[in-house]
Symmetry: none
C-alpha cells in the first residue's frame, strides 16, 4: 500500500495521485468549499470527467486510501483463526487501520484539520468509520454466536473498539502527529478489552496447547522458553503474515 501521496516517486504519477495532490493543495490554501472540481482538474491538467471516474464524490478524494484499508481489514478478519479471541482480533484489526494513518503523519494531520472544520467532510468520515465498525461487529457476531446476547455484545464491543481507536488517533492528530500513537492505542484498546473480558484472559506466555504449525510460522520449544520462527518473502501482505503467525503464537 504505497503512501497516499506518492511523494519522492520519480515515476509518472498516476491519475489518482495527481488528483489527490492537486485537491489537497487547493483545499489547504483556499478551503474545501471554496474549491470546485473544475479547479482541481485544471490544476491537475486532466479532464473534469476523469475526476468522477476515480472518486465518486468530492469528499472521497480526501480519503483516498480508505477503500483499500477497509478491504485489508475485512481480509484480516476473515483470515483470523476461529479459535482466537474475537475481541483481541477486532483490536488488532483496528491497529491495522492505525498503520495507515501512521504511515503518513503529515498527510493524516492535514486531513484531520480539514475534516474538523468542514461539516461535509466530517459527515463523510462518519460513514467511512461506520463501515469499519460494521465490519468489526459482523466479525464479532459471527465469532461470538454461541452467546445469548451475542448480537448486542458484538455491536457494543465494535462501537467501543472504534471509539477507543478514534480517541487515541485523534489525540495524536490534534498534537500534530507527535508522540507515540502505538502506545496510546494500546492503552485505549486495553481499556476496552478489560471492560469486556468476563474471564480474565490467560497471562502472556501461558504454557498452553502446542501451537499449530502453519506453512510459514512454527513454534519451537527452546531451552527455557518457546519461540516462534517465521519465514516470509518480502512484500508478503501483512494480513497473511499475521494470520500465519497468530496461531503459532498461541494467542
Amino acid at each position: 500500500m504505497a503512501a497516499a501521496v506518492g511523494i519522492g516517486d520519480d515515476t509518472k504519477p498516476t491519475m489518482r495521485e495527481s488528483l489527490v495532490r492537486a485537491a489537497f493543495q487547493l483545499f489547504l490554501e483556499r478551503g474545501f468549499e471554496q474549491t470546485t472540481i473544475d479547479d482541481i482538474v485544471s490544476l491537475a491538467g486532466v479532464g473534469r470527467r476523469s475526476f468522477f471516474r476515480y472518486f465518486p464524490s468530492k469528499e472521497d478524494v480526501v480519503f483516498p486510501d480508505h477503500e483499500g484499508c477497509l478491504a485489508e481489514m475485512t481480509a484480516f478478519l476473515r483470515a483470523a483463526p476461529p479459535d482466537g479471541d474475537p475481541v483481541t482480533q477486532a483490536c488488532d484489526a483496528s491497529r491495522l487501520v492505525l498503520r495507515m494513518y501512521a504511515a503518513d503523519p503529515v498527510f493524516s494531520v492535514q486531513r484531520y484539520r480539514l475534516t474538523r472544520q468542514v461539516p461535509g467532510l466530517r459527515a463523510h468520515e462518519l460513514s467511512v468509520v461506520w463501515r469499519y465498525e460494521r465490519a468489526l461487529a459482523e466479525h464479532l457476531r459471527e465469532r461470538g454466536a454461541e452467546r445469548a446476547d451475542g448480537a448486542l455484545r458484538a455491536d457494543v464491543v465494535a462501537a467501543a473498539v472504534v471509539a477507543a481507536h478514534n480517541h487515541a488517533l485523534r489525540t495524536w492528530l490534534r498534537a500534530g502527529g507527535e508522540g507515540d500513537v502505538q502506545a496510546a492505542m494500546d492503552e485505549a484498546l486495553g481499556y476496552v478489552t478489560r471492560a469486556f473480558s468476563p474471564t480474565p484472559p490467560a497471562s502472556p506466555g501461558s504454557p498452553g496447547s502446542p501451537a499449530r504449525s502453519t506453512a510459514a510460522a512454527a513454534a519451537v520449544d527452546g531451552e527455557d522458553e518457546q519461540v516462534v520462527v517465521l519465514l516470509a518473502r518480502k512484500g508478503t501482505p501483512l494480513w497473511r503474515v499475521v494470520r500465519d503467525v497468530e496461531g503459532a503464537l498461541g494467542e
Copy 2:
C-alpha cells in the same frame, strides 16, 4: 414534542407539517432519489424556496424532530444532578430519544426502512446520531473529570451507550415496531452499565499490559528472494509482532 406528522389534527397544518407529509408520501411511493424538491413543494402546494426555509437539506425532512430532541437531551443532561452516576444519566438520556421514536411507531418504521435502503439518508442519520454521541461524551467527560482516563472513558462509554440504544431500537424497528422496546432497551443499556460499572471486574494480569521485548524481526537477502525471519516468544501480543515485522517486510 408533537408527533412528526400531525395526524388527526384538525387545525390547518403548518408549513413544516405539509412539507413532511408530502415528502414522505412521495418518498414511500417512488423512492427518495426519484423525488425532487419540486415534486414535494408542488404536492404540498407551496413555493420551492419555502422548502429550504424549513429544512436545510432534502435529507433533513426525513428527520424533522431530531433537532428538538437533541436540544431536549442536552437540557436533560445539563439539569442532571452533579452527584448522580453519569453513566446512568447517559442511559436515561438515551431513553429520552427512544421516547421520540416510540411516540409514533408507524412513522419511525417507515423512516427506518427508508434510511436503510438510501445511502444518502444513512449517512445523514450517522451525523445526526453523532451529535447525540458527542453530547453524551461531553457530559461524561465533565462529570468524570476526576478520573485519570476520563476522556477516553467518556468516549468509549458514550459510544457503547449509543450502540446499545441503536441495537435495541433497530431490532424493534426491524420487527415493524411490534414488541416491548423499553424492555429491550433496558436490557441493552444494562449490559453497558454492567461492563462499565463503578467497580470494574478487576482482572489480574490484564491483557493491556504489553509484554516487553518479545519479538524481533529482520530482513535477510537469500539466493533468489528476500525473506524475513521472525523470532518471538509464545504469547507475544499479536500487535507487537505486527509492529516488528512490518518494517522488515518493507511494505
